[in-house]
Amino acid sequence: MNKSIFSNEKLLLVLRLIMGVVFILASIDKILSPSMFALILKEYKIIPDIFIPLVAITLPWVEFFIGVLMIANLFTQSCALVMIGLNLGYLTGIILNLIWGLVHECGCFTIFGFNEPIGGFSIVRDIVFILLCLPPLIYGTNEIKLEKEKTKQILPS
């Protein structure tokens, strides 16, 4: 990676906004109807049945919080790390299900009625999301901006 390109502040801002909005949009519908999300999770046959309600309740909120924090530029690196982790999880689930011959709802973006079955598109999309999260993870900051400005002011003296 060329540091001069990927550490660019404007690029990082755009990536943060894209990923933040994507995760918030992905979470809203699942937050509002966890029962539907639980049904879709069950289709993946990866999570034991006993944990499905817990995951269906908590996972959308993790997506929502990291989306908001990402946009707000708070703990960007940690949020990017969680996003990459989640996308890797989704990717694994989708690939395993396709290998097993299970084709069902993705459960990725149910908002606006956008509901597609898992397939090549879902895999490519998740890989793109992971790539988009890499610059914020590497060049983003995990510090609160106010503190950073203070340290900058102190340094010249």
């Binding site: 509002l32 966890p34 046959k45 309600p53 817990l54 940690s78 709802e105």
Partner: protein, 370 residues
């Protein structure tokens, strides 16, 4: 220094995720659409709420012609004021009258397990594919009642829109959905229903109440009367027409494990494995041929001379959630195979039951099926 930063980033990730989870759990308490943290065991619930024989007999013996005021709570009545949405009582009336086609908007694997008796599956995500398969059987002027799992489930709205786009005019949504229908003990069917309702089935219904009139074999109109024995005798397969209401409801071709085993024992069936070929090679149902969905054309061309179009074919995949068997069954039907059935529970259930299998990775103890 760098290691410290990495640790702090990971630590904050855990903290943020933990906080979000905690917040999610708190929100679930106040969320009107909240779900229970302990998964419900549906089969037991069905047994508990299913009315007894005497309760079924107490139901009205004739279908009321005039609309009756619903006894449901006021909330449901308010919803039902909207023309499109109907409540349980109205849905049951339409069901009894047999003038509506019930459409299940839930994921297909949920439908296969349990659904309203006579309903067809048109799930939101696979709508186009499923619709193409059954569109010839659907009358666009008919009444269609779409249901999902409960009021929180929006998939019925999506399916309703899809149907409207295709020219269906008379569409209603049963908003309370499957959960309320099932809890009311109304007629259901599916591959997992039999075990749940067997204890309350009357031995020989004498009075033809609406609930009893629609009592027919769970999914399959054919019934095999002879029990499975270790002898080589071929069971007699008796055609049994379902005594149903005159609803224009297309039947699906799904069969359960028990029926599949009986067909297997009869030896008059060709099993088709719809899973990927490399999985088939490892283990498959004894005598099955491989026609995987992804390489169907190639495999079919290689063996089409050996396949007779009048034979019975049972297509299976890995499990209830695997739709490949549906695809392969569709491909076969397109090529003129008339008698194609789908063993919905598929390989997992067959293998779990210890029935005969073969393949490269089958060990000695596995293959006997005894």
């Amino acid at each position: 220094m760098k290691l410290e930063k990495i640790i702090s980033v990971i630590f904050m990730s855990v903290v943020i995720s933990g906080f979000a989870c905690f917040f999610g759990l708190l929100f679930n308490i106040i969320n009107p659409n909240s779900i229970s943290l302990i998964p419900k065991k549906e089969i037991k619930k069905v047994e508990a709420v299913k009315p007894s024989v005497t309760e079924i007999e107490k139901q009205p013996k004739t279908v009321p012609v005039k609309p009756v005021v619903s006894k449901k709570p006021a909330v449901i009545e308010v919803i039902a004021v909207e023309e499109k949405l109907i409540d349980l009582a109205k849905t049951k009336k339409y069901f009894d009258a047999g003038k509506a086609v019930f459409v299940d908007a839930r994921p297909e694997f949920v439908y296969v397990e349990r659904h309203i008796k006579g309903a067809v599956s048109l799930s939101a995500s696979r709508f186009n594919y499923q619709y193409e398969r059954i569109k010839d059987k659907l009358n666009k002027d008919g009444l269609y009642i779409i249901y999902c799992s409960d009021t929180n489930c929006h998939l019925s709205d999506l399916v309703a829109e899809h149907l409207k786009e295709r020219g269906f005019k008379n569409i209603k949504i049963f908003s309370a959905g499957w959960n309320e229908w099932n809890n009311s003990g109304y007629p259901v069917e599916g591959v997992k229903v039999k075990t749940a309702i067997t204890p309350v089935e009357p031995p020989e219904p004498k009075v033809s109440t609406p609930a009893q009139q629609i009592k027919s074999p769970a999914v399959e109109p054919k019934e095999i009367k002879k029990p499975v024995t270790s002898e080589v005798k071929i069971p007699v397969i008796v055609e049994k027409k379902p005594v149903t209401q005159e609803a224009p409801m297309p039947r699906d071709n799904t069969i359960n494990l028990e029926q599949t085993k009986k067909y297997f024992d009869s030896g008059k069936v060709v099993f088709v494995d719809a899973r990927p070929e490399y999985v088939y090679v490892e283990r498959h149902i004894k005598g099955a041929v491989s026609l995987s969905a992804s390489r169907f054309n190639l495999q079919y061309e290689n063996m089409k001379d050996k396949l007779k179009k009048d034979d019975l074919y049972i297509v299976y995949c890995s499990s209830l959630t695997c739709h490949l068997s549906g695809y392969v069954a569709g491909y076969l039907e397109e090529r003129g195979f008339k008698n194609v059935k789908v063993f919905a529970a598929g390989w997992d259930e067959w293998y779990g039951a210890g029935y005969p299998i073969e393949g490269l990775k089958v060990k000695k103890g596995e293959a006997s099926g005894e």
